[in-house]
Amino acid sequence: MMTMLYVRGRRFLQRVMTRPRIDLPLALGLLLLLLVGLITLYSAGDGGFSLVGGQAMRFALGGVLLLLVSRIPPSVLRSWTPWLYAGSTALLVVVALLGEGRGADRWLNLGVMRFQPSELLKLTVPMMVAWYLHPRQLPPRWKDIAAVGLLIAVPALLIARQPDLGTALLVIAGGVFALFLSGMAWWRMGLMLAGLVGMIPVAWHFLHQYQRDRVLTLLNPESDPLGNGWHIIQSQIAVGSGGLFGKGWQHSSQSRLDFLPEHTTDFIFAVFSEEFGLLGVAALIALYAFIIGRCLWIAMEARETYSRLLAGAIGMSFFVYVFVNGGMIAGMLPVVGVPLPLISYGGTSAVSLLTGFGVLMSIHAHRKMHD
């Protein structure tokens, strides 16, 4: 038994090493993005290699995972999906029961490294939604929509009460995009959207005070000179003073003089904007758009519903990262802990994002083998 596993494992690794199945345009786009990330981080981290080194390690780990996952055929992933979903949701429950962490109980200490189970859900929730929808009659009716809603809501609520609104938002986005791509009728979406808008006052009631404060602060940043209002103002000064061409690499005075909080993590986009200006921002956003577009292209090429929905949902959630983080540093959206994907330092998000792209690579590689 053991030897068989060992032999199979070795064969699997050999195949990963010798014949990686990757989509070249997507891989190049990602590589470029990682490079931009490391360059920005070097500047934002005041020219130290310790941050950049750590981040490069994460990228390397993520790259290995990407290659490994890319060898798992979508059909296998599909058969694993319910177990992966159930397992990751169970981990969330474990965290809720005995978690430890900074203010928010989101981490599970694995001895060597601290591990955030909610990261897994960013992948397993769209997987589960795609798995649920793939054998069913599409476009989905209310019954299936309700079931999908439940599959999304359970882990999302568990994450939201950690409290980690940013990750909850990304998890919801992944599931909802899969539903959208499955062809859910526009009028149904309109109706649900209207319902959600109607729920806003109720949701407001359930928000933590600090979360409400963040929304209110956005409307009037001057009201909170010690907390988030300060962050919003300083971040906008950084962005605005960058101008069209930027102040140049390593010339972000806002970050250098410690006016920008968390300038290597959630607010790194502000440093980037200050140093590279509007042209840099437009180029970076174009790069993100290219990656998202390529993901959707891969999704369209897939010949089977599960792969299509999953690939499309992963690609589209990437947009949510960029939009929420960019909107936050430009003072358009409240301060929510969503990193700029593959550029913000730290967290497990870089690893989980790259793993997600591994799934896309696998779907690309199997585009003509499944029907």
Binding site: Q137, L181, G240, G243, L257, S273, A282, M300, V322, F323
Partner: protein
């Protein structure tokens, strides 16, 4: 149509997906264009404005922590104050190599392992640009040495702050409690904005339960900084709002007298004003110096406190549970009257042993051979067990625990401190929860004299006696009487309405019990008759001597030495005064006392003396004893007066 639609059509789905993916991508492009538009707005349209702001950006806000509210006794004696001190603070972001810096710094200013641990914990929990306290209470010598070397330590600063001091030391350690340095656990629950710049938080006692009022609201100042981030000048100040001052209802003089009365022997005493639930004194002996905890207690001091067999950190008044013994007898007697099981004149024959019908085990009186026929007043005066064994049997455990529960036993009293023990009120429900055995009748019998499962805290007993003294109107005990917005501002009283409906409707019932408790002090055979001498107002009291272990035989103990008895007994005494117009109710326990009246009684008397002295010896609304005694035939002037001639009715008329 329906059957055709139920077959999955992959080509159809694929086409639909294509349309959706395109629509989705268009929406995403739209969103990204919107984002770029916003950046265009900031970076091109408003570019000049932001450039100016960025160039002038030398201004940072700095939190100004509020001064913590002060705590006073009822007469304005300071119990907790703020004194200026200096501490070292570090901004982690401005330190290149933290551990190397700390090593260099410790050669100039000694840093203990505790300091370093707390600091490292807080660094992990805070944002890197926030200033974190490293060492509190710097000595002048340390400040000087650091000032000379300051240029070597960018990001490290000496910062003035206010630290907490408890001028009366241990006297209020179990009431006011203490503040402690904010640690990792605190950071999880505290509002980071409200506690920015604050280093201490209430840890125990009132400091903890009134944290919200005491803390206040931080202000901020706008400071101009140079390129290193050091402060150049202050541009604007928005002062913080200090926390509210608290006025306790405790009188320091009573508190001192109570603590002194224990003379270091372990125990606790609580005095409550029965008219409003205000706590007048609350001591737990032995105690500790709360100042040790404020800036981090050293391991040696902490070990000494933890390993002390007398457990000075243990708040006996709040958490110590003891069998109440005979002190519950007046309350039970009142239940017998109110619920109609007894009339004042009903008598019981005490033969020395009480047997349940058909049972072999005897339940004993204190005196061998008994005291003969007694009514309720005499039963209270001489603490006759047989009377209450019988009353408990007649009431039954359910009515007994229901009645006693109304006096607050078996649940927290609701005093404004955290961590109160609920104690145990014997009942079927309680036993069912804690044992698989059914309720036995014998357990009802001993519940009647405050033994068996009974467990009460001194606070609970004081609360119950205060409720009795206040003619059955219950008030949750309160330590904080009023708040104040700042020095010189008017005191705002905190309301404390009755916590339940009145328990007594017929004044005659109360009068009977009161008479019994007066006879404890003034009767010829009263167990507390030694306490009467020299107090100008009527005292009503009751002793209680609870056994720590149950007896193994029916034989009477022959060893009467005080040391032996003290090792087996807990001595209680409860009292209120003036009996005709109760204004103070006291409960005191001595953990190792031989007899309630003889050992705990004098403690109560000393508290009453201090209370009287605090009032200048005159209590408005109450009759002096010489006049009262003359008017009340129930109070014998000599110890020779025969007890049996006193008719309960006569006293009732005289009231």
């Amino acid at each position: 149509m329906r059957s055709r639609r139920s077959i999955k059509d992959n080509r159809d789905e694929s086409a639909m997906f294509r349309r959706r993916a395109l629509a989705g991508f268009l929406l995403i492009l739209l969103g990204l264009c919107g984002l770029v538009g916003r950046f265009f707005f900031l970076q091109v349209v408003h570019h000049q404005e932001f450039v100016t702001r960025s160039q002038n950006n030398r201004v940072k806000p700095r939190a100004l922590p509020p001064a913590r509210g002060l705590i006073y006794d009822r007469n304005g004696v300071v119990l907790a104050e703020n004194v200026p001190a200096f501490r070292l603070e570090v901004v982690p972001e401005q330190v290149k190599h933290m551990s190397a810096m700390l090593a260099r710094l410790s050669r100039i200013v000694p840093l203990s392992q505790d300091d370093l641990d707390a600091f490292k914990k807080q660094v992990k929990q805070s944002r890197r640009f926030e200033s974190i306290p490293l060492k509190l209470r710097l000595t002048e010598d340390e400040i000087d040495r650091f000032a000379v070397n300051r240029w070597r330590f960018p990001g490290v600063d000496v910062v003035p702050y206010l630290t907490r001091r408890y001028p009366l030391g241990g006297l209020f350690a179990h009431v006011v409690g203490y503040v402690g340095r904010i640690d990792a656990e605190d950071l999880k629950r505290l509002d980071p904005v409200r506690y920015q710049g604050t280093s201490h938080v209430g840890r125990s006692g009132l400091e903890r339960s009134y944290e919200d009022l005491l803390h206040g609201t931080p202000g901020y100042e706008l400071i101009e900084v140079n390129a290193d981030g050091r402060t150049q000048r202050v541009l604007e100040t928005h002062p913080p709002t200090p926390g509210k001052n608290l006025y306790l209802s405790i009188d320091v003089r009573l508190q001192k007298a109570a603590e002194k009365a224990f003379d270091g022997r372990a125990g606790a005493a609580v005095a409550i004003d029965p008219r409003n639930g205000q706590v007048l004194a609350m001591v737990s002996v032995p105690t500790f110096d709360p100042n040790l905890f404020v800036n981090g207690i050293s391991q040696a001091d902490y070990d000494a406190l933890i390993n002390d067999p007398a457990k000075p950190l243990f708040n006996r008044a709040l958490r110590g549970v003891y069998p109440p013994g005979s002190t519950v007898k007046p309350l039970l007697g009142l239940g017998g009257l109110v619920e109609g099981f007894r009339k004042p004149q009903d008598t019981v024959l005490s033969t020395g042993v009480f047997y349940l019908p058909g049972h072999k085990r005897g339940y004993r009186d204190d005196q061998r051979g008994g005291v003969g026929t007694v009514d309720l007043v005499q039963a209270i005066e001489m603490s006759v067990n047989t009377y209450f064994y019988k009353l408990a049997m007649d009431m039954g455990i359910d009515r007994l625990s229901q009645w006693m529960g109304q006096f607050g036993f078996g649940r927290p009293t609701g005093i404004d401190l955290i961590g109160e023990s609920p104690g145990v009120l014997p009942s079927r429900a309680w036993k069912a929860e804690h044992s698989r055995q059914p309720w036995y009748p014998g357990e009802t019998v001993i519940a009647g004299i405050g033994q068996g499962y009974w467990a009460v805290t001194p606070i609970q007993l004081a609360h119950a006696i205060a409720t009795l003294a206040g003619h059955g109107v219950p008030y949750a005990p309160r330590l904080v009487m009023a708040t104040q917005d700042g020095q010189g501002a008017p005191r705002r009283p905190l309301p404390n309405p009755p916590s339940g409906p009145p328990l007594i409707h017929n004044t005659a019932d109360w009068d009977t019990i009161n008479q019994g408790m007066e006879m404890v002090i003034y009767g010829a055979k009263g167990t507390g008759r030694a306490l009467a001498a020299g107090f100008p107002y009527l005292i009503a009291g009751k002793s209680g001597t609870a056994e720590r272990y149950s007896r193994t035989t029916n034989a009477y103990n022959t060893d009467k030495s005080a040391a032996y008895l003290a090792s087996r007994h807990r001595a209680w005494f409860v009292a209120y005064a003036p009996a005709d117009h109760p204004q103070i109710a006291v409960a005191a326990i001595l953990e190792a006392g031989a007899w309630g009246a003889q050992d705990a009684g004098p403690i109560v008397r000393k508290i009453l003396d201090a209370w009287l002295a605090a009032h200048g010896g005159v209590i408005p609304g109450a009759g002096r004893i010489s006049a009262a005694a003359a008017a009340v035939p129930g109070i014998p002037q000599t110890s020779m007066a025969p007890v049996t001639t006193q008719a309960a009715g006569a006293v009732g008329v005289a009231r």
